[in-house]
């Protein structure tokens, strides 16, 4: 065992990479839940995004097109959720599960010929001088563009929810859909937009795993990240910056346990591997006492009868 092998600078840099899929998926789900919809299909949308992005970037050679395809893939899958919950008025929990089960199968089917293929690399941003600053450079200024997109998205979602009219309407729909309807807002339409946004974000998060983090395609490779993203939204009390914080915290745990595995710590690999899940449970327990910030209409079906 040699803990000296763990380089703190690389650790922090890779923590940010590990956190990005979580961040992307969770920030999307946050918007969905703010609109009063609980989509448990994050895992399914992520894995579909992962394979869509992977396939398109392998076929076109462009990781950028891959990410675009991943966002579209995630959004298209979430469209099924829209059909079930907003038009067929099905139970949101069951529909979300259906989305995940279907997404896992569908991605496995699409990905058959991509196992073992290497995707084109996106390359990291390099800004002369700034990226060379010791410690700060590698941590802050030498990542791929999508990682920065994740952070930017957090800022945009935060600002939009807090300061814009669209954000206000979205929150209003999530708080009390009957009242929003009575004021003449199109509850279903707003929710559909939110769900599609959430799907696109989850798709991006999935593609980040298959194109940058790993990067290759294996069946079921999201391995519960989508579910952790759901937990993260609760952890963050539906606040964007706390999602970022939470994602980095979980990213840190993941990276740390991987580093400990590599360093050959005397804890069996399996116990290290289960630690992120156990810590998720622990965090849920600590934070579930405070439910006050949950949108009041979360998970409730809306049907304008009169």
């Amino acid at each position: 065992m040699d803990l000296g092998q763990i380089n703190p600078v690389l650790l922090v840099a890779s923590l940010m990479v590990a956190a990005t899929p979580l961040l992307l998926a969770a920030i999307g789900e946050l918007v969905v839940e703010k609109a009063g919809v609980l989509n448990l299909g994050v895992e399914g949308m992520m894995i579909v995004g992962a394979i869509s992005g992977f396939a398109i970037s392998v076929e076109t050679g462009s990781p950028w097109l891959g990410f675009v395809a991943a966002a579209i893939g995630g959004a298209v899958l979430s469209l099924l959720f829209v059909l079930l919950t907003q038009f067929a008025l099905a139970n949101q929990v069951a529909s979300g599960l259906a989305l995940t089960l279907f997404g896992l199968g569908f991605s496995a089917l699409m990905g058959q010929s991509y196992v073992g293929v290497k995707p084109p690399s996106m390359g990291d941003i390099y800004i002369p001088l700034i990226s060379d600053i010791p410690v700060i450079g590698p941590i802050l200024f030498r990542h791929d563009p999508i990682l920065y997109l994740g952070i930017a998205l957090t800022a945009v979602v935060w600002a939009a929810l807090k300061y814009t009219r669209v954000g206000l309407i979205l929150r209003a729909v999530g708080e009390n859909h009957d009242a929003a309807h009575a004021l003449g807002y199109k509850v279903i339409k707003i929710r559909i937009m939110a769900i599609l946004f959430g799907g696109a974000c989850a798709g991006l998060g999935g593609a980040y795993i298959s194109l940058i983090r790993v990067p290759q395609w294996t069946e079921g490779m999201t391995a519960g990240v989508g579910w952790i993203a759901l937990a993260l939204v609760v952890f963050a009390s539906w606040k964007p910056w706390r999602v970022l914080l939470g994602a980095y915290l979980f990213g840190g745990i993941t990276v740390l346990q991987l580093n400990l595995q590599a360093a050959g710590v005397a804890i069996p690999v399996e116990y290290l591997a289960m630690s992120p899940y156990l810590i998720t449970i622990l965090v849920l327990v600590i934070l579930s006492a405070d439910k006050s910030s949950a949108p009041a209409s979360l998970g409730r079906t809306f049907h304008a009868s009169h």
């Binding site: 399996e270 849920l284 327990v285 439910k291």
Partner: protein, 360 residues
């Protein structure tokens, strides 16, 4: 312009018809999917639904229906009780694994002793393992209000790591030449869940599944506890008003679904599968969710749905070997089934009618 109009009360006819309509729609769209994959859709659907029952090798496949169907029904019955009450245990896969580990562990602890009581002890241990794993989210929900969906699911991943750990360590076969995996229980007679009638596929797990169906039926239709479960799902506030203790209901529903999933895992590991290994679990815990919904959370419905789902598993395997249909296509096929079921369920509670144009 189409409008939905809530029925004054749920339609009985549609509640029976929706699963059938969903199956038909899945056949059509599944066929379409197979056609896109370059297979003959009629042949593929035929292979999946016909071959296992009436094909040339039906004598081999029919028993397999029981073998595959039993764990699905056993788990789905447990899940359906919780689902009815709005308690979402989606970690049955983990409880299934823990049941298998506890069951196999209990049996192997006696190795090589020969005694009649070993198998019953394994049954109890298996149920206990599953119960224990499901009681974690139950206790956390009752005590801290933690979301049981997320916790039970997280515990699936933990259980999978446990499975890997015991396959490589605690339960590893000492005579296994260093390969991961436990001793094979099929060759340890006292611990073997053997077929009750050779060649029938009938083992103790199948018996347990039938008992569970009857138990659930009586519970839901004739017993106060079952009434309280349904009431909690329909109207939680009314349930509290009626005197239901939500905490006890959560502990009961999650506990019983865990115990049944644990039993399923235990019967599987001591019978058809035979040993604890890293890839012991094949997703029954998740497929059972589809079975529960497809059976409309009704015990008899679940029995039928479990049979149908077992059919798609076996038919899928045949289609895989005969037509080269990818295994994942069957997974998609099963997912579609759940989709269509949820979508058509609309017709049970709503009437669809064409409305006059909006411009009055």
């Amino acid at each position: 312009m189409i409008v939905l109009e809530k029925r004054p009360q749920p339609s009985r006819a549609w509640s029976y018809a929706t699963p059938l309509v969903a199956v038909l729609a899945t056949m059509v769209f599944g066929g379409l999917l197979f056609a896109i994959l370059g297979k003959n859709p009629v042949q593929a659907i035929g292979t999946i639904f016909w071959e296992p029952l009436f094909g040339e090798f039906a004598f081999y496949y029919r028993p397999q229906l029981l073998v595959k169907g039993a764990p699905l029904v056993l788990i789905a019955i447990g899940l359906s009780l919780g689902f009815r009450a709005g308690i979402w245990n989606i970690g049955a896969e983990g409880q299934y694994i823990m049941g298998a580990i506890f069951g196999a562990g209990a049996g192997l602890a006696f190795y090589p002793l020969d005694a009649w009581y070993i198998f019953p002890i394994m049954v109890v241990a298996g149920a206990f393992g599953g119960w224990l794993w499901a009681t974690i989210p139950a206790l956390l929900k009752v005590r801290f209000g933690t979301n049981e969906i997320l916790v039970s699911l997280m515990l699936v991943y933990v259980a999978e790591q446990m499975l890997a750990s015991v396959s490589l360590g605690l339960l590893k076969n000492p005579e296994g030449f260093g390969f991961p995996g436990s001793r094979n229980l099929q060759s340890y007679e006292s611990a073997h869940n053997a077929e009750l009638i050779a060649g029938s596929g009938m083992h103790w797990g199948v018996v347990a599944a039938f008992i569970a169906v009857i138990f659930a039926y009586v519970l839901l239709n004739r017993h106060m506890l079952g009434f309280h479960i349904r009431l909690t799902g329909e109207a939680p506030r009314a349930a509290k008003f009626a005197g239901v203790n939500p905490a006890r209901l959560i502990l009961f529903c999650l506990g019983i679904s865990g115990a049944l999933a644990g039993l399923a895992g235990m019967f599987e590991v001591s019978g058809p599968s035979g040993q604890i290994s890293i890839d012991f679990n094949v997703g029954y815990g998740f497929t059972a969710i589809i079975v529960a919904f497809l059976g409309r959370l009704h015990p008899v419905g679940i029995l039928l749905a479990g049979g149908l789902m077992a059919l798609t598993y076996i038919g899928g395997e045949i289609a895989q070997s005969q037509l080269g249909l990818p295994a994942a296509a069957i997974q998609v096929f099963q997912g579609m089934l759940l989709f269509f079921l949820l979508a058509f369920d609309l017709l049970t509670n709503f009437r669809i009618r064409a409305a006059r144009s909006e411009v009055a």
